[in-house]
Subunit: 599 residues, 2 copies
């Protein structure tokens, strides 16, 4: 029946996309489940999460301040969207499973806590008290616990799994740090050494522990070493042994432990995934199976065709027939269970169909397109010297970009380069079939066209603004500059080896994206806590400001500190953007001890 096919199709597509939801098998639930998995709803969920997280930009302490009623309204809409999504999910799976899943409980808790917080915050603010929006820390939990956060959860699980081993390495590292600090205290504490600033050097145990810890990250090298080294060459040996053991050996062991654990865990996860997918495919087979004389249960080609059309409506007939011939390689008109369970993997394979379709101009204007001058152009464009010529033009362009902008010759040359790049794209579209040129796998064609067209538009806008208003818009000009330089990246595609490296990078893109989300989650939580604790503690003053507080970032505690001297005032927790940049700087490690001291 139709319902059977729907059920089987759901099983197959669950296996195809590694979904692990134990939906109810009633026709109604299946229809709701299909809707639940619709790509539009996935996008809506992610959009709602982005809006919810981005609210931090507009809430106090804000980058762009909005009134409280506006941000609260937006947040309520977001929370309502999550409630709707959760109710939808509850209708798909059994009640028992719904309440047993900690993900759902977590989402419900976050929603309830957020509502409580909004009410408390609103009433406190209305009565003039100070209040803290503490529930903002919980927002990233939504990103982790939604159905779509499968990859992110896996990443967190793998980290949690490696924690015990990492902890032991860390404890051993701490032990080594404490031992070395004790040794440093005994060796240098009584020598009366001083740092360049004239402070006592290595006299307090806790300070030594901190300094040596910073040395592991190499952030205060070689300043921390110099006083001892100046006193005796042999003391340098102490620091060398310290850095060798704690920076190099420990970090190697640390990385090895993390890597090995991650690999081991990932292998186990993949094994479970394969088993679950096989199970789903077996169920789909069970729904569609028929009995054929003595050979056990099979699925006929007709059922199989109908199933594949349901699972992947946009599949071409040729592609579907190819898949069938792979499954039914004995040409029996039906397949057994073993061949059937491969279907999900087969559908996931990318089949590049090379169609040598004629150019549309060849069909519409054959006499013109096939004439010998036109064919000469086509041969020219296909020639490898055409590529070399444009690589050369790019190099010349790079030199021109480096030269002074205000020279009118160079400013006008930009138009020539733009015209040349545009001509190149037009010539290629004339020579190659446009649909093939802009097919999904032609990354560089897309990149090229996008950059050149945007550069053309931005340059035109820029000159229009300039000639009408008489002034140059700084933002537009910056964009024009960036686009101009990005155009040069195209040269990478000409070199085979570079293309291979870039392709590798593109392939690991999804993994990077998952870890990007993970980092956003962690940063967001830290930023929210940091903002509540430190907002307004440090102020940034414009270069033109004559405020006397400018000397110490508006915080008397920072008078004469390195922090103020190095002009680090903008590294603060005053809004969410500053917080993120600060956290990134701390991750990059250098001078972090100076930045950290401001708190």
């Amino acid at each position: 029946t139709r319902d059977d096919f729907d059920l089987a199709a759901v099983y197959v597509s669950d296996a195809q996309y590694n979904r692990n939801i134990f939906f109810e098998t009633t026709p109604e639930a299946i229809r709701l489940y299909l809707l639940y998995n619709h790509w539009v709803l996935h996008i809506v969920v992610y959009a709602v999460i982005v809006v919810d997280l981005a609210l931090a930009i507009f809430e106090d302490p804000a980058v762009i301040p909005l009134p409280i009623w506006a941000t609260t309204l937006i947040e309520l809409v977001c929370l309502a969207a999550f409630v709707v999504r959760l109710v939808h999910y509850a209708k798909v799976i059994s009640r028992e499973r719904f309440w047993k899943d900690p993900k759902n409980i977590c989402i419900i808790c976050v929603i309830l806590l957020s509502l409580t917080d909004i009410v408390i915050y609103g009433s406190l603010k209305a009565t003039g008290y100070t209040a803290v929006r503490w529930s903002r820390v919980l927002r990233p939990l939504l990103l982790i616990n939604i159905t779509e956060g499968r990859q992110l959860r896996r990443a967190f699980r793998s980290i949690r799994n490696a924690l015990p081993q990492i902890l032991y390495v860390f404890l051993l590292f701490m032990f080594s740090l404490l031992m070395f600090s004790l040794m440093a205290l005994k060796l240098f504490g009584k020598k009366g050494l001083t740092t360049t600033d004239g402070d006592a050097y290595f006299t307090s145990y806790l300070e030594i522990v901190f300094d040596l810890y910073v040395l592991v990250t190499t952030a205060n090298s070689p300043d921390i070493i110099m006083p001892a080294y100046n006193s005796s060459v042999y003391f340098a040996v102490f620091f060398i042994i310290y850095v060798l053991i704690n920076t190099y050996i420990f970090m190697s062991v640390f990385l090895a432990v993390v890597y090995n654990n991650y690999k081991k865990y990932l292998k186990e996860e993949v094994r479970q995934l394969v088993r679950a997918n096989r199970h789903k495919m077996a169920r789909a087979f069970g729904v569609l199976q028929e009995w054929k004389g003595g050979e056990g249960p099979v699925v006929t080609q007709a059922s199989w065709n109908q199933l594949v059309r349901l699972v992947q409506p946009d599949i071409s007939n040729a592609h579907r027939e190819l898949l069938w011939s792979v499954s039914d390689n004995n040409n029996e008109g039906c397949i057994g269970k073993v061949a059937f369970v491969q279907l999900a993997d087969l559908l996931n394979m990318t089949v590049i169909v090379v169609k040598s379709r004629p150019h549309p101009l060849q069909t519409s204007l054959p006499s013109l397109y096939l004439s010998s001058p036109s064919q000469l152009v086509c041969r020219m464009v296909r020639h490898r010297w055409f590529v070399y010529a444009f690589d050369f033009i790019i190099l010349v362009n790079a030199v021109f970009i480096g030269l002074d902008e205000e020279n009118p010759l160079i400013a006008n040359a930009e138009w020539a380069f733009l015209a040349l790049y545009f001509l190149e794209i037009l010539l290629k579209l004339y020579t190659f079939e446009p649909k093939a040129f802009f097919s999904r796998h032609e990354f560089w064609n897309w990149f090229d066209t996008l950059i050149v067209v945007s550069a053309l538009i931005a340059t035109i806008i820029n000159s229009v603004v300039k000639s009408s208003g008489g002034y140059t818009s700084r933002q537009i000009l910056d964009i024009v500059f960036i686009l101009r330089v990005l155009r040069l990246i195209r040269v990478v595609d000409s070199i085979q080896r570079f293309r291979a490296i870039i392709n590798t990078l593109v392939r690991i893109g999804p993994t990077i994206l998952t870890f990007g989300q993970l980092i956003v989650v962690v940063y967001y939580i830290f930023a929210m806590v940091g903002m509540e604790l430190f907002k307004g503690k440090i102020r940034f003053f414009d270069a033109e400001s004559t405020d006397p507080d400018r000397e110490f970032c508006g915080n008397p505690l920072l008078k004469n500190s390195l922090f103020a001297k190095y002009n680090y005032c903008k590294n603060n927790f005053n809004d969410v953007v500053s917080s993120f940049i600060l956290l990134l700087e701390l991750t990059v490690v250098n001078q972090w001890h100076d930045i950290l001291f401001k708190a």
Copy 2:
């Protein structure tokens, strides 16, 4: 015959120690070859190399100056030793093979060039000219090219093998760096920004390239970012993207390429080694084989026993019989080729023979040792609370070390701790069989005893010196302090997990040693070149010095430089020890741009 057994034994021990020398098979050559591989000669060769390399400490620019005739004499002795070793090698292998091996040619060239350099340098110095000892750069080549440098050559080969791939990643990285620099020039060059020192910010292309290159190593973060970030938050995004792409993504790709290449190459090397070893064992079999009724060639147990006794004279009878029973598992009294070729691997296996030998006191004084008070002591020492008690003593000791030394109570407590530790060792020796206690695998027992005994000796010397001369020797006191802290490390052994991590570290020890040699080779070459180019350019002045040059390290070029301000004067190429420390600091990466500018 005796010669046959000698030949077979040489093949087996070559397979056992992975030697790949195609020696002549005459009895005379074999005897010379056995001598060539004697462990005493290996140690002599390494000692000669260490002396030769260490000459840099005594040659101009010297740490400890010695007259030229003395260093030249030592160097000539070293070179003579290498000549003798090479002549010995030439007598072991065929003349043709000797001259075809680039390693031998390289050693001969180094020796000849060194002699030439010594003659030129000596005559120039004698006639009062300035001269450069350029051949010192070649000394590390001896370490690479001697027969014993097999592991080191393998490490260099694996690096050379990965070079092409690394080069392409590096080129792509350079391209990215140049692109970002161009973008930075266009974005910031005309904005009139200044650094904290008031210098123009990002106006010259080459300076931008250098600054952004330094940023990849994170050494100038966040200082280089601040001017742009202070001007606009959006510019911080530029730097974030830059660091993400160039520090994280490129470094990951870089490490992945190096690791994969290294692994691939190592696998190939190991495969070749296994093949070569099997070949050697097959030859040994060919020498000793006998024909036994219809079963093909075999080696009898008698021949096998004689061979094993030749290869490993110190092997116990029990161990040898165990190996034979593993090889001849059907108990036929002779083994075929397949079983025979395993011999080298079997000999490499560590067999721990657990002998429950009675304690020597039990045999000499049984009535006393087996008396009930004596047995109570033994049971007490074996109890786990004995370990806990001493862990607790160590912790208390750690606190005492951290306290002030000049308090007489604490100074005397040190004697109590020493006595306790000494008592612990004596008790353990009383309870456990001393030979088992000090067996080769009991790393911690050795460590403990060594540290406690040295601490005892050093403390006694220290108090003798103090009470006789009335003053404390700083060097002896430093050693006492270090030994005192090292004693605390013992606590690591009590925690199972820590022991596992330490054991892993001990196991990768040989690999670390090989890479250590590799780094010494590279550093030595750089240090020699650096010393000839920069010696005396920067001078270090004592803190008490009143010389006006002290302000700028004796080099007017460094007036007002950060280098002089941070008191980095001791980071120079004035002698080989300073050079090594400087190169290590540059490897540790931080502030390297400041250090580098001094040249």
